[in-house]
Symmetry: C2
């Protein structure tokens, strides 16, 4: 059972790393870039269980350890 957690700063939270990448891309002549936001992806491999149970576990893990709920949002995707 593979799941993917995508953790990103909430809308409105300043993202200096994203800003720096935006700037660097413009320096490399990628002038079509309007905005960049950077986050983390955590791929989890869990032992066999139902999809709904696995999702519930992943949400628990994100809330308890992987994401900072004050400034970050997360999404769970099922990979396989």
């Amino acid at each position: 059972m593979k799941l993917r957690l995508i953790i990103q700063l909430k809308q409105g939270v300043l993202d200096p790393q994203g800003k720096a990448i935006n700037h660097a891309l413009h320096n490399l002549s990628f002038n079509e870039v309007k905005d960049v936001r950077v986050g983390r992806v955590v791929d989890l491999e869990l032992s066999e269980m139902s999809v709904s149970e696995a999702k519930k576990k992943a949400i628990e893990m994100a809330q308890n350890l992987l994401a900072n709920n004050v400034i970050e949002d997360f999404e769970v995707e099922v990979l396989s």
Copy 2:
């Protein structure tokens, strides 16, 4: 045009951060975790262009700046 780049260490490249998270999850009694791999996600907002053109640009950006091709793989997803 919004795209998402998911950048991850190649299979076989040691991921100490993933290992540390795996360990921490086990300490929090998430014993169903078998493996953890950590990566980066970069959400790009580009000016209006065709999907194929945007994808091509995103791949160029990943190759030139965002990913380290020696140790990292990346995927491009179209968000909107």
